[in-house]
Symmetry: C3
């Protein structure tokens, strides 16, 4: 039976006429270079070169935890000696799932024949075999190194000889800061979740104009917006400049680190008080379970700087729950999803894997375009700085540029306010990026000095 | 690993012996020419040349309705100006589902970045972009024209230049008639549902002899049965002739219009009173959602002519519900399905797509055979009359032939009653089909005149 | 998009280093020769040469029972005349499922058009057709012969000319014995369920050391273990020799008959009293529904010999339930599964089809290895004795070797007790296998005589 190919417009043909859905039924493949993450895929192998969070420490109780990471079935456990193990899920003896295994004083024991595996894959015991059997020495169970940090379990799934040091970020340095871990599962590809962070325009519409009170009102104005690669070659920031009121403007930098980590600045209203270089409100990794399922793992930050009015609620933060995005998981009814859509709905409904070939991108998608380009350069190895061996050799605490700065800059009649916003945004971001690697207090002073200079220039310009 | 082919009987071989299931394990493919309906398939393209119902008007409330039609994912909505829109479901910007969109005063707005689409696919707003951006003019969102009629939303999904006028049927002309819309979802291919209407023998068994009281008792006798193509070349009728009692006979015509519309005559007992040419009790389209899911959309007719004792119940009619087939949906328990099977069970259980190659058809399947032949001729373009450009150019109210006629014809000893039934059935149907295009009153008179003539002939024959 | 092949260790390469899961991501195919059972597959055709249980008699009530056996969709029923029919599920007329059919005085009637099928596939009635229609004589509905025995319905699905007699086993001969039927569904391949019976080591760990009180404590010691093919060439036994206490030892034989039948010896503690050749506690067939679903059908035996303290509970035995493995079905919560794993969890979680290529087998898997080898020889027709035409020609009651023997053999200082266990085990098993075909009382006497001889030899050896 011959099947006619779908009718698709040819390149160079005219814009379809009204009611021309018939000519737009063509489909396209997703972007496999960026979206496929199984063993042996370019993006999958790139992601495996980084430590990835795979569960919360609190999920490791008396029984093993079945997890799926980068299309691999694994099991995580905390043994009696306090060692976290992450093993291939199926017993290397006869294939029984180790999620039914017995957590032991040392290692994890399969419940079927009692074989005992250590966190490094060593076979500690094969009790049905003769004590003198050399079987234990002939193979090793598949395992990955794990590292616990601030309530999250991180795993390195790449080639052993390429294992990078476990790195942390300077955003944790804020006085009195506490990191509270959470996770959120999404039945869709990782990339459409991750690139949402380099798309600040969606907040204007989804979270304020349409969503009502999902974010403070100042988010409801279209920002003066730009994007910049970071100097370390390993990511990008967005620069979002908004007027809060007639007296106050607000410059925000949010940072995406290749491949799948993002730092989000303050998520609560920071008020009208002038503040420089306040840091992250939350951070997260978008970790693929497989090509069409992903779990976000990260922390909410609790400190007086990013939450001056103590609006955060720790009790709402954990597995499948976060105070900032309460209710925004698969647990909503369809009616609520339709009447109050949030990030979960807009991301998951882009299809299991968003199809880039069907998009129509605008200037406001510049951040998404930049992020995809950086990822593509990375997996093609056109950018050595994007690989951990270039990034993580000299320091374990990375200097980052996520920040909010609130400034007193009154509106002035006859002056193009968006031009003013852009100028201050550039000034602040220049100072932030140029001071990367310096101590926080130094960077804050650099921002303040740069703002002062900008004010002087503005006053001079006024006089002219 | 070589796998032996299943053992199947060879053509010309003998009938299998008892207990020979082993030799009958061969499978066959479904009939793709008639059953596949996706974009570009022969039947799919043929169906797209007709307006098809896709939902009830009452389903268009304040939120969009996600629908799937002919293997395409769509969304339907009613905007503030009263326009019904049917759009491709995924936003042409970044792919988010428009089922989470905001129904606006004009058009449907995506909740992610606020782009606003009109019913004809025009992009009305791209609010994140500069007001002067030409982006809106460079493309159009996939859309189809919609038309509301008697509580159903119809959509045309074919090539725009081939769009036929929206046609209606003369069955709505009965005095005081009211059409009450309904829909019923079935997890199976469309054809096995549709062809059930040209198989009146199933009513004898499924609905009466086995099903008990699903239909009035007169249905429980095997009718004298024949089938005839209609003169317009666009469908067929069945001619079912039954004796109601010793004094009364009953001639029924039910009509199938290519490709997927059917008109069903009275569904309640019309009594023993002599009545000519009473019209439809219900009408419906069997609309494919995809190859293995279909939804029936149609109306129940309410008027004194087809429901003289007011047995119908409007309150039972709507989405997934119909008074005539109350409970005959997926909502029954398996026990009820087994003990009281109805159309839903016999149709859905023919497999997701019935496999014609495994059937053993009898003479009573003549209507099914004729319908499949007409459909095959149509998709092969061997019958131009089956295509809407030949059928819908001159009129928007089509003359149809669905009807019941009840006649006083006493049984007479020594006379072959089935011969009598066949003779009257032919007489009535001749008059009905020959008068197509005439006003209803004229046609009724033609039937009456023809019956009178038949009575005279019979009396004369008796004398001879 | 080129995808790198998964990294797998090459033959001859070294054992992976610690934390080398990255190098162990290779996958392998399941063993299709032994695991695939659809029509035309080697194992599927082999299994079809044997009568297989497909449901419990008690499941045949007033409505048909839809069953799936060896990847074929069937329906079973008990008609008014007491005949059990097993038919291809879809009506040979138009494909409607006969699970909605009407069980008749003779045969099963399709509810759609009333066609009536007899148990042998004859078409008894096609009521919509003319009474003189030859249609009924032109074909036959697919059917298989059925046989009811001790509460189970057995079906023969192989070539009709190869149908073997229905055979029974001598294990039913115990005085006062009652067989109580049960079934248990498993969502996995048949082989991993079946081979569990030739793996007595799993009982030590899963059922005692890990599972706690799933079996009497004596099971918790590693037995002196060996395996032997039976002389009829059609299966194997395991020989498990354990010390019960300082005074008593216990020799157990469990028997697997090719392809999928197993006889399990006593499942309750038989006490310290000396007993010879006590027979089966349960028997079962692991019947594939399809490649990834299987149902176990069998009986629990109730008699004073295997259950001296009357620990069994008939009320717990039936569809999806068995007293010996109460709760060990899919009905447990995930938490219970994790905390109290049993056979169901370890077998089902070996993947839908266990992948032999990923296993690391030890000496304790010798029984599994032997069983797979026997099955492979059978399907390759290298062992004619494994086929029913060689096995079932002369008798309908097969002599089998499943048994327990409890012996008073005190531990003696300075003597290697495992050597003693092995010696008595060999003696008992020799007597059991050598006496196959003899009456039970004769065989018991042979065992006793052989044990006496062994005791004499032991005493003599002591003196030396």
């Amino acid at each position: 039976m011959p099947v006619m190919p779908p009718v698709v417009p040819q390149p160079g043909t005219e814009r379809p006429k009204p009611y021309s859905g018939y000519f737009q039924r063509g489909t396209s493949v997703a972007d496999p270079e960026l979206t496929q993450i199984g063993p042996g895929t370019p993006m999958g192998e790139y992601m495996r070169r980084f430590w990835q969070p795979v569960c919360l420490s609190g999920q490791l109780t008396g029984v093993p935890l079945a997890i799926r990471v980068l299309s691999e079935d694994l099991v995580a456990y905390l043994d009696g000696a306090g060692t976290v193990g992450v093993l291939h899920r199926h017993c290397s003896h006869r294939g029984t799932s180790l999620e039914y295994g017995i957590v032991s004083e040392r290692g994890l024991r399969c419940c079927y024949h009692g074989w005992l595996f250590d966190a490094d894959g060593s076979i500690l015991e094969t009790p049905g075999e003769s004590p003198s059997s050399p079987l234990k020495e002939t193979f090793r169970h598949g395992s990955y190194p794990a590292h616990e940090y601030e309530g999250l379990i991180f795993v390195y799934m790449g080639p052993p000889e390429e294992r990078p040091p476990f790195v942390t970020y300077d955003t944790a340095e804020v006085a009195g800061n506490a990191l509270v871990p959470f996770s959120l599962a999404h039945p869709c590809n990782w990339l459409q979740i991750h690139e949402n962070h380099m798309d600040p325009v969606h907040s204007v519409f989804l979270h304020v104009q349409i969503g009502g009170d999902q974010l403070p009102r100042a988010w409801g104005e279209l920002p003066v917006l730009s994007f910049r690669e970071t100097d370390d070659g390993a990511g990008m920031v967005y620069i979002s400049n908004r007027r809060k009121d007639d007296e106050t403007i607000w410059v925000r930098n949010q940072q995406a680190h290749l491949p799948n980590f993002v730092q989000i600045a303050g998520i609560f209203d920071l008020g009208r008080q002038e503040r420089y270089f306040t840091r992250a409100g939350m951070e997260w990794w978008t970790v693929p379970n497989d090509d069409t399922h992903s779990t976000v793992f990260g922390w909410r930050h609790f400190n007086d700087e990013v939450d001056p009015r103590h609006e955060g609620c720790r009790d709402l933060i954990g597995v499948e729950s976060c105070d900032h995005i309460a209710g925004r998981t698969h647990t909503n009814t369809y009616e609520t999803q339709q009447r109050e859509p949030g990030d979960w709905e807009v991301l998951v409904s882009q299809r299991p894997i968003a199809i880039h070939g069907l998009e129509h991108l605008g200037t406001t998608d510049a951040g998404v375009v930049m992020l995809r380009r950086l990822l593509r350069q990375a997996v093609r190895k056109e950018n050595p700085s994007a690989w951990p061996d270039r990034r993580f050799t000299k320091t374990t605490r990375l200097s980052t540029s996520v920040q909010d700065t609130t400034l007193s800059v009154p509106m002035r009649p006859g002056v193009d306010d968006r031009e003013v916003l852009g100028r201050y945004g550039t000034a602040v971001t220049d100072a932030v990026l140029d001071s990367a690697g310096q101590p926080t207090s130094e960077r804050r002073a650099r921002v303040e000095a740069r703002v002062l200079l900008e004010r002087q220039n503005s006053t001079r310009a006024d006089r002219v």
